[in-house]
Point group: C2
């Protein structure tokens, strides 16, 4: 029994001939080790948890895909959970992850309460979150949106725009408020005017952007450029513009955030602010890995840049 275990775990304390014999029998019997028993006995789960808020937003699958590849390469497995923007589902998901004794959790949602994380910390489980002002525990991946947003506004101004609206995400999501505030601050810094009605609030999905844009189209004082808090919203806005018989970038310039692959494939390809997904995934993984090896739980902070990617959805405003 012990020898079998040793063989399967590649211990060197087993005679090659014996190992061979073991492997043969294993093969014949179709024996597959039981990972529950394994982790119960060893005290190691070899599991990381990843929580995201919307698997339907292409931003996240790429994150997951990258994280999973890294994990597999390092002999870890990954459990996923999709909260669908529902805090209750977040709690459920984290709970289940604790039950599985994951060795670390990456919470890559836009909103996390401290209470959720406290549970994890009580169990001494390393946590990494995306930058969230409300959360002060665990390691944090900061994504510096201000640079990208500043670049975007500068780009639009250079093209001649002075009337820029912003379609924000739901204001109960901290990340959405944060991006909106950065936008507003940057607008102010550039001494542009920003009527209240140019800040729209939207569900973070394309439908939301569609609705928000329809509202903007009804305004008497229309902006000439639209920035959206994510690409999906920007796509929804684009559709609303098209359905109104108007054209991008002739009638409106549009800038998104995220740089999901699909913005290449719409017409016109979207100008957007790239959020470095591969780096986020890598950063989350390595942070978890380090934190789980070093139980001292020193907080790791990282700061990832954003960057404007200019494509065809921005141009000089029509009146120019």
């Amino acid at each position: 029994m012990a020898t079998v275990s040793r063989t399967l775990n590649g211990s060197s304390l087993v005679r090659p001939a014996t190992a061979e014999r073991v492997r043969k029998v294993v093969q014949e019997l179709g024996y597959v080790p039981n990972s529950s028993a394994r982790s119960l006995s060893s005290g190691k789960s070899n599991l990381f948890g990843v929580v995201i808020s919307d698997i339907t937003n292409p931003f996240f699958p790429e994150l997951i895909s990258n994280f999973e590849s890294l994990a597999l390469k390092n002999g870890y497995e990954v459990v996923f959970a999709n909260t669908n923007y529902d805090p209750e589902r977040l709690d459920h998901a984290l709970r289940r992850m604790v039950e599985r004794r994951v060795e670390g959790v990456a919470i890559l949602t836009s909103e996390v309460h401290d209470s959720a994380i406290t549970m994890l910390r009580r169990q001494n489980i390393p946590v990494v979150t995306l930058q969230q002002q409300t959360v002060q525990q665990g390691s944090i991946i900061k994504v510096d949106h201000s640079v990208g947003i500043a670049e975007a506004i500068a780009h639009l101004m250079e093209l001649g725009h002075r009337d820029i609206a912003f379609i924000a995400g739901p204001s109960d999501l901290w990340s959405a408020r944060k991006r909106r505030d950065i936008f507003a601050a940057e607008i102010k810094r550039n001494k542009l005017t920003l009527p209240a009605e140019w800040i729209a609030e939207s569900d973070p999905r394309p439908e939301g952007g569609f609705d928000a844009m329809q509202a903007l189209l009804k305004l008497k004082n229309r902006p000439t450029a639209i920035m959206a808090t994510n690409d999906l919203i920007a796509l929804g806005a684009l559709r609303a513009i098209n359905e109104a018989g108007l054209d991008v970038p002739r009638d409106f310039s549009i800038v998104g955030i995220d740089d999901i692959d699909l913005v290449h494939y719409v017409h016109p390809p979207l100008t957007t602010i790239r959020i470095p997904r591969p780096q986020i995934a890598e950063c989350a993984f390595t942070t978890l890995l380090e934190n789980s090896r070093n139980p001292e739980m020193k907080k790791i902070q990282s700061n990832l840049p954003t960057q404007l990617i200019v494509r065809a959805s921005t141009a000089a405003p029509r009146s120019n």
Copy 2:
């Protein structure tokens, strides 16, 4: 100890007062049960596995999302794996699922070898796959593509098209070959001509569609309509057409397959053949649930319809 276990599992054989006391202590200690120990002892993992081939294709996240919701509602958890079209990763994923003693696996990839499934069947694990001719074991979800493809061709012919090309997926994927063959048969049935060069082969991602369409554009005898084996490929083709300065549907009509949400949000919105994702997810889940309750493992076969959804990417050909 036993009383604690009973309390946590909601046994009625516990005096309410005791139960309350237990819960309080549990709360204070921050105790969370260990699911490994639980499933080791009970012999039940309460786990289903889901394997998909490309999490980056929006077709799959919706599948996952639906499946996960159903599972949670029924007290099950789900482990996912993304094979990235790599048969080796499929084997790895299935292996890990067996190690976790999942109570069923849904293999929702386009290609599965019998050998992979044999391992699962040896362990008496229920399996459900999408229709795959090579695989004869386990339950099967059939998706009837022929109806949708026939509808699409009829729709194009009604508009006046007679020259229809097909961008197929990689011919080493059985599902890709199958769709292509159905298309070819349907073309023949309608007595249309189908030069060999109108059957393009493509990577199943937008880049593939882009490249394939560029090749089609170089042809002397161009088709007037393009059908693609999935929506992502269709989006790639659409982009290639746009970049060539041409217009859809003026210069080419395009029909995709899948009906992913995003095809609403490109311009023009894509005509496509809807594959019923929610039903696939539900069918996969209920099949697994039934099969895992009834260890007799009777094969369940279901047949799901496809349906043409007409939007704005199809119109009469220009020459008409």
